[in-house]
Amino acid sequence: MERLAAIADEEFVVAGSNGAVTVSPANTQQVSAILALASEHRLSVAPIGGGTKQTWGGITSPHIYLSLARLNRVIEHPWQDLTCTVQAGCTWFALQQNLSQHGQFAALDALFSDRATVGGILSSNDSGALRQRYGSLRDLVIGMTLVLSDGTIARTGGKVVKNVAGYDLSKLVTGSLGTLVVITEANFRLYPLPQYERSFTLAAPQAAQLAPLLADIRASHLLTQSLQLRRSASGAHLDVCINAHPEAHQEAILAQMAKQHGLVPEECSPSIWRERETIFSADATVLRISTLPTRVCTLADQLQATQSDAQAISVSQAIGIHDVALCGSADAVASTIAQLRADAQNTVAVLQPAPGVDMPPHVIHPSALSLMQSVKRNFDPHGILNPGKFFAGA
């Protein structure tokens, strides 16, 4: 503790009841010194941002929680270049507030953006409904400052949107759940804030009845910004966000397409794009399932008809990402997960297990797994960063 206090001031080193210490460094150099110390003494470290996704990839019990809360500044926003540099502990909401002063944004609708931080979002590769139009998080990051487990400070990428110099470690680190490095800064490419968003929803008892329209929309020229399917025991909703100049009359085109399938779009509040959060806040087991786009509706309906008595609520993105809440007895939930995993067309991650649900968080193909393990060993030879996440015992 004293050694940690010598790095970050005493007031920023706090002992918890469970024996773990939380330390909040002020800058990248202090992060480096803490990791070097932890490496030397083989102390395990869990980087922590807003703490909204600590269960993702498996729960850890580290010696040190490394909080990035004090690294919370937007360092620069050269808006004419449509880029920004921000520290990892900045909340997504604070970042967006800052960028909106120049009518720009980082094109991702993150979960719990008022608490979730840049570093945590990057590490967990979160992505929401905007991905339909703007691509995945890894396509929005253009550079990072990283600290390795031995304290090495490294930068990758750069500040320009186009850059192929060297390996793109930002991609490797995005989604690595704090097991490879600690991110202290990130550079993003930005987009102008959408000007003409309008949200519509179409309801049907089952997703299957919405599937032909969804396929039509995907194959059309309609300028959709987001395409989402919500499914629960009470029915199915297809949500469409259009973002185009009013004179392009995209809503009329949508209505026309819907009519051919006997459906009627209703204009609705943009709050539907935050429905995803209700999945996570519930006292449920939360899964993230990936499928091909053509299986989105099928899976959503299947989740309502599982053999077990587990209840499912799902919010799916049309590109094939499903956030699913399962409620029910631990056995029922586990058996539903096993069934879903038995179908090779699904990739199932358990992001948040309910008490008593003990299923591996990820299933990684063995051939790629051993390569990933050697990457992990080369970055973190003593295994101090989030041990147990992704690979048990790595």
Binding site: S127, R138, G143, A154, G166, T174, Q195, R218, A244
Partner: protein, 487 residues
């Protein structure tokens, strides 16, 4: 030249790929001794032309056992010496693995072998109304495998993103012969994004033998405007103003006077004679494109464009783009030899950087012409020279590398799409500090602990950079200033 490989190894290689798949005759090896960067040449020990993933696997197992370095090769159009053979290496040319394996329109995916030519991907899905977005100017000749290795870009990447955005899944043979699947056809494969780091790794992490690509719906309407300006700065200002107005065109390109002249001589696009030509392409629904185009034309005129030409139908657009896409080749009309450079700068520093480049060229008494992807700040300065003038080639190479230093100093990058390869590996230490580069090496060694895959590329090595007179080992300019100010 006799091969440095033993007879036993050669016969084993022959057993893997057959007589037709092995090249050892010196005159045939010549074809493979360089890529598009012809100033660098090394003859390979042998060239192999595998036809399947399992043949590539057998070749790499053998290379691993015998510690033979290997260099993958697509179409050899690379401009940074990426496919340049290493001393004593074999070349694995993927030109015979050129089949399209599967087209899945409902899921908007296509699976191809690495030797498929970029333009053939779009050709395979065009009838159904789809296209493959990354469009390097070399798209009618370069291969998807080479595009993946270089993370190739193109004019339309401003809106649609680079190769990495469009590759979903890959089959890769690792340097020890293991075959792995990186990425997945469904979003976000579990575990580390190794596909993301493999793309753009310039053949240093293994050989990609199959890839599933994302295809996109062709836009409803496409319009291109050509605007003529008296100064590059005015054209560049128009680009900034378009971005500031909240629009994201599909492409924004600038050509300077020399490159306009060269294009005119070689493909006759009938461009207006001017100091700077700005090309802006918009796509989307008709009504929206019409409105945006009116705003774009307005911006150009405000910045002094004295001629604007709108190309709407396919043929008119083709002609407009033909001149731009032929720009590198057309440089041959201006000068017997030239080097195409590939720096990136923050878009806003364009006028200042160009002024500096012109002064540097004048001081060397060399001509430099510029074409660039202005929307994303990617410059392609083309240094013109004549190899027959003693010392001129060295001065041209030196100037082209110093241009990169200027880009780094402006907060940019030494390469936007052509890769580091052999050409720019010493410039890496100008852009990155030692710890940055050592961190990349940790990835390299997880994939390739023996340094067999395209060795002595991308990373600065004492052997190669030590020979350089320009002092690539000068301390990193940012090292001194402390890490707080990341570049």
């Amino acid at each position: 030249m006799s091969s440095s490989l033993t007879t036993a190894v050669l016969s084993e290689l022959r057993r893997i790929v057959g007589d037709r798949g092995l090249i050892t005759a010196a005159n045939q090896l010549q074809t493979y001794e360089c890529d598009g960067l012809t100033a660098f040449r090394v003859p390979p020990a042998a060239v192999l032309l595998p036809e399947s993933t399992s043949q590539v696997q057998s070749i790499l197992r053998l290379c691993h056992r015998e510690r033979i370095p290997f260099v993958a090769r697509g179409a050899g159009t690379g401009l940074s010496g990426g496919a340049l053979p290493a001393e004593g290496s074999i070349v694995i040319a993927l030109s015979r693995m050129n089949r399209i394996l599967n087209i899945d329109i409902p899921n908007q995916q296509i699976t191809v072998q690495p030797g498929v030519i970029n333009a053939n991907v779009t050709a395979a899905v065009a009838a159904q109304g789809y296209f493959y977005a990354p469009d390097p100017s070399s798209q009618t000749v370069c291969s998807i495998g080479g595009n993946v290795a270089e993370n190739a870009g193109g004019a339309h990447c401003l809106k649609y993103g680079f190769t990495v955005t469009h590759v979903l899944e890959m089959t890769v043979v690792l340097p020890d012969g293991d075959v792995v699947t990186l990425g997945s056809k469904t979003p976000d494969a579990p575990g580390y994004d190794l596909a993301g780091v493999f793309i753009g790794s310039e053949g240093t992490l293994g050989v990609a033998t199959e890839m599933t690509l994302r295809i996109m719906r062709k836009p409803e309407t496409v319009q291109v405007i050509l605007a003529a300006f008296d100064t590059i700065s005015a054209a560049a200002q128009s680009v900034s103003d378009v971005i500031a107005s909240g629009q994201l065109p599909a492409a924004m390109e600038i050509m300077d006077r020399l490159s306009i002249e060269a294009a005119e001589i070689s493909v006759h696009p009938n461009y207006p004679a001017c100091e700077a030509l700005l090309l802006i392409e918009l796509d989307g629904p008709q009504a929206e494109v019409d409105l945006q185009m009116a705003a774009v034309i307005d911006i150009c005129k405000k910045n002094g464009a004295w001629e604007t030409r709108l190309a709407v139908d396919e043929q008119a657009r083709f002609l407009v783009w033909k001149g731009r896409k032929a720009a590198f080749a057309a440089a041959g009309r201006l000068s017997p030899n030239y080097i195409v450079q590939d720096g990136v700068i923050p878009r806003t520093s364009l006028p200042a950087v160009l002024e500096k480049l012109n002064a540097m060229a004048a001081a060397e008494n060399l001509r430099v012409t510029n074409v660039f992807h202005a929307g994303d700040g990617n410059l392609h300065p083309i240094v013109l020279y004549n190899r027959d003038n003693p010392g001129e080639e060295e001065r041209a190479i030196d100037l082209s590398l110093r241009i990169l230093d200027v880009c780094v100093e402006a907060g940019g990058s030494i390469t936007g799409e052509h890769g580091v390869g052999r050409e720019k590996q010493c410039s890496m230490s100008y852009m990155f500090s030692d710890p940055d580069i050592e961190t990349m090496q940790r990835v390299r060694h997880a994939f390739d602990p023996l340094d067999l895959a395209n060795p002595e590329k991308l990373f600065p090595t004492p052997r190669i950079c030590g020979e350089r007179s320009r002092g690539a080992y000068a301390p990193h300019p940012l090292e001194a200033s402390g890490i707080a100010e990341v570049f």
